[in-house]
């Protein structure tokens, strides 16, 4: 057991180092950070002095190890754009992203399961056909288009909901939440819908397929034969067995919701880490980009690690020492 966890931890560290390396290589091609840090009047000699000060003239390998060394201490330097410590910037933006991600994940889960079950139980009804058609639209429309469309309808035309920002926030000291004010909650609605649509359709189709599968199994027929009520069969037996894979997928999707938030956050000027990343890319704010990529990698690595460890408890076949992991 301990050996398995240690092995997985070592693998995770290797993955993180790899991400750091790839990120570092990519940054050599995103442009010149100095160009966006100085005005056009700045002499080229002065730009050179700045490059030296920032260590941009050192050999790449030296820069890489300096970056790794600092990253291990949670030190990502100062943002070129905002001149504030990067770790502080990311921490201050994280609550917004996490609240948005959880709101979207909850929406996706609740509606996805409900609609999935419905379309599985009434596959012939007109409503189900409509839902299935709409879900195709939800999957194929780009996020920014959905966002702009919602803004146009609910903010510009109807004037019901704010088109940008997070509304008023309450500072709890270690967390800034928008969930405690009316304007904060109102501001959350449109971005949460926008971000959840893709996941919602995914979960819905998954639930529907699983449910149809389960409803065809022997034990469901047997339950019918025993004269159990339709309701007990559908919700007691079928749904319970349907939800096992759904929970796994949802856990894994949470990582991508946080990563996918970039577009939604940009459209709604949502002050999270995603919009911070996009702004940083535009001006080649390397310290912020590096920290963000490392952070996203960490989220995925952690989620995978937790899922693996849970499986380890669930699936006895994994406990044979020497057996291949992750089959």
């Amino acid at each position: 057991m301990l050996a398995f966890i240690i092995r997985r931890l070592i693998q995770s560290v290797v993955v993180m180092l790899f991400v750091a390396l790839i990120a570092f290589v990519v940054f050599r091609y995103v442009g010149d950070p100095i160009a966006s840090m100085v005005g056009v009047e700045t002499r080229l000699e002065d730009q050179e002095i700045m490059r030296d000060r920032l260590g941009l003239n050192d050999p790449a390998i030296v820069q890489f190890f300096r970056f790794i060394g600092n990253a291990i201490q949670g030190e990502f330097g100062i943002s070129y754009r905002l001149q504030q410590p990067v770790s502080e910037l990311i921490l201050s933006r994280l609550p917004a992203t996490i609240e948005l991600a959880f709101a979207s994940a909850s929406l996706a889960l609740i509606f996805g399961v409900v609609l999935g079950v419905f379309t599985a139980l009434r596959p012939k009804s007109l409503f189900s056909a409509g839902i299935m058609a709409a879900s195709l639209v939800g999957v194929s429309l780009p996020t920014f288009l959905i966002g702009i469309g919602l803004i146009y309808v609910f903010s510009v035309e109807l004037g019901w909901l704010p088109s940008f920002g997070r509304g008023d926030v309450v500072d709890l000291g270690w967390w800034r939440t928008g969930l405690l004010t009316e304007s904060g909650l109102k501001s959350l609605i449109l971005p949460a819908i926008t971000l959840s649509l893709f996941q919602l359709t995914l979960i819905m189709r998954l639930v529907r397929a699983e449910m149809l599968e389960v409803l065809r199994t022997e034990y469901i027929r047997f339950a019918r034969a025993r004269g159990l009520s339709q309701r007990a069969i559908n919700f007691g037996h079928a749904l319970k067995n349907t939800l096992v894979p759904v929970i796994t997928i949802t856990g894994l999707q949470l990582g991508s919701v946080i990563a996918f938030a970039i577009v939604t956050e940009t459209v709604f000027q949502w002050p999270g880490v995603g919009s911070l990343f996009i702004t940083s890319v535009q001006v080649v704010d390397v310290p912020v980009m590096a920290a963000y990529l490392m952070f996203i990698a960490l989220v995925f690595v952690l989620i995978n690690l937790i899922v693996d460890i849970l499986y380890y408890f669930v699936d006895p076949r994994l406990r044979l020492d020497g057996g291949g992991s992750g089959k």
């Binding site: 442009g31 005005g39 001149q83 940009t266 996009i278 001006v283």
Partner: protein, 527 residues
């Protein structure tokens, strides 16, 4: 940290309570990006200066016509017996937001800080030898030589309180390489018309009126809520839905729709920024061309053919939706040295252009790559696309390479481009600024953006003389002469001057500022 709490509290209170008298007017002002920092000398960037102008003040600044006007200095002149020294007389009775008196020592401290090694403003003060406080309200700035235009360089150099800076340990400008940030990045103490109440980077900043400001005319706007909204469509939607009052960076394609919307009006005006194309000079063959034995751009007939092929009016009508001012000179109309004759441009003439190309020895044209930024100027990439098809009509086959500005601008400064688009604003409002960077041979501090490596020693000598010539008539004659050569020689291929558009609710009027630095003190309300 505690100040953040206090500020947040204040912001929350301000948003729920009615602040003062019935005449209180709040403006919600949105633009594409936030100020980068509050440290007044650390970044030389438009939006950052624009925001700072509300909190801090400069010795002199520009009105909406582009003229210098007095701000913290009431007058300035060259010392009678010493052409290398500027004397500034300071405004009396001015206080900083914390109550400290504004005196000459603050000006000396601020100018020294602005020209210190880590300051991004230092280039504008490179000729300063020494700054001296003569008495409490007189400052002398000694230059290395005669510098007749030095006050032009002061319009974005803000004055801080020396004591405040020392108390909070911000005598030095923020250093990127340091491990921590500087107090001045997040806190302010200026003499300006508004006081910072709260700031959340990239989200919202709140400013309230400074009741003790020296100006006799109190501004109509008593509170400013500054809201950066990066996405253009969202920014416009926020105005349409009534969530903001003024939008500063309006995309040209939305101007018409906004103008025809009830309750919204659009103010437009020329910006101090010209968009032009540059090309590689010299005999060496171009890196991206099929002509491998010589450089087609080096032939004046080819440059003339290109100018005749480009239809500036079509670019204005189609690409810019009417929102540009076509020009024949790479110099915005506000700038000293601009004339109607220079501004004139030839009508497109495809036949003549083809004849010129054939004459130059390229009857079948040639190929070349055009480098363009795609996120810096208004419709920059679309302008380049239009020019590609226009040049195609005379047989010059252009491949377009489009990049974000962070990758584009090093190509120009490192001379790695054969043909490029660039924009140029002239903060000093004088032609010398254009010549120094775009026309002078690339050497030392000159010609940083002369990516085509044009080099004309005679012009270089004339350009250098502008820096120290104190006889303004003689100086202007030299400027005219230089422009004559630059236009004849077609050193650059100018296209148009950009137009700025601000959209606002129709009871508000905010005049367009040529440097895109509008002050909310200039807002008026219709009754």
């Amino acid at each position: 940290m505690t100040t953040t709490f206090r500020r947040l509290g204040a912001a929350l209170l301000a948003s729920t309570l009615i602040v003062s008298a019935a005449s209180a007017e709040t403006i919600r002002w949105a633009r594409a990006s936030d100020a980068l920092t509050l440290d007044p000398h650390s970044q030389n960037q438009g939006p950052t200066h624009n925001f700072a102008h509300h909190i801090y003040e400069t010795l002199v600044d520009r009105d909406v016509e582009g003229n210098l006007q007095a701000r913290l200095a009431t007058s300035w002149e060259i010392k009678a017996d010493d052409p290398t020294t500027w004397v500034f007389t300071l405004r009396e009775g001015v206080t900083f937001h914390d109550g400290a008196a504004f005196t000459a020592e603050d000006v000396v401290f601020s100018l020294d800080r602005a020209r210190s090694e880590k300051s991004n403003m230092r280039q504008l003060h490179v000729d300063v030898a020494e700054v001296i406080a003569v008495d409490d309200y007189t400052v002398e700035v000694k230059m290395n030589g005669p510098a007749p235009l030095y006050p032009n360089n002061l319009t974005n150099t803000f004055i801080m309180d020396k004591t405040w800076a020392e108390t909070n340990d911000v005598v030095e400008v923020q250093d990127y390489a340091a491990g921590e940030d500087n107090y001045a990045v997040r806190n302010t103490n200026g003499t300006g018309p508004y006081i910072l109440q709260s700031r959340e980077v990239d989200v919202r900043s709140v400013l309230s009126i400074n009741e003790n400001h020296w100006a006799e005319q109190k501004p109509a706007v008593t509170e400013i809520i500054y809201l950066p909204i990066a996405d253009a469509a969202t920014r416009v939607a926020a105005l349409l839905s009534g969530e903001v009052d003024i939008v500063q960076d309006v995309p040209v394609q939305d101007i018409e729709r906004l103008s025809s919307t009830d309750g919204i009006k659009v103010e437009t005006g020329p910006e101090n920024r010209v968009i032009y194309f540059g090309y590689k000079f010299g005999d060496a063959p171009l890196a991206s061309s099929n002509i491998t034995d010589r450089n087609p751009f080096n032939d004046p007939r080819v440059r003339e053919a290109m100018e005749l092929a480009v239809d500036r009016d079509a670019i204005k009508a189609v690409v810019m939706r009417g929102q540009s001012i076509p020009t024949g000179v790479a110099n915005p109309p506000f700038v000293n040295g601009w004339t109607e004759e220079l501004d004139a441009y030839p009508a497109p003439d495809i036949e003549r252009a083809q004849a010129l190309l054939a004459e130059a020895g390229y009857p079948d044209g040639f190929t070349v790559t055009l480098d363009t930024p795609n996120n810096r100027y208004v419709n920059d990439e679309a302008i380049s696309q239009a020019v590609v098809s226009m040049l195609g009509r005379i047989g010059i086959n252009v491949t377009l390479a489009s990049r974000p500005v962070a990758q584009h601008s090093p190509l120009v400064t490192n001379n790695q481009t054969d043909f490029y688009l660039l924009g140029w604003g002239v903060p000093t409002f004088d032609s010398a600024y254009v010549f120094n960077d775009l026309v002078h041979s690339k050497e030392g501090s000159y010609g940083a953006y002369n990516g085509g490596l044009y080099s004309n020693p005679e012009l270089d000598a004339m350009i250098e003389s502008l820096g120290t010539e104190t006889d303004l008539e003689k100086r202007n004659a030299t400027i005219a002469e230089i422009w004559q050569v630059v236009k004849q020689d077609r050193v650059l291929l100018p296209i148009h001057n950009q137009v700025l558009a601000y959209a606002m609710k129709d009871r508000i009027t905010l005049p367009v500022h040529p440097e895109n630095q509008p002050l909310m003190t200039s807002v008026t309300f219709a009754e």
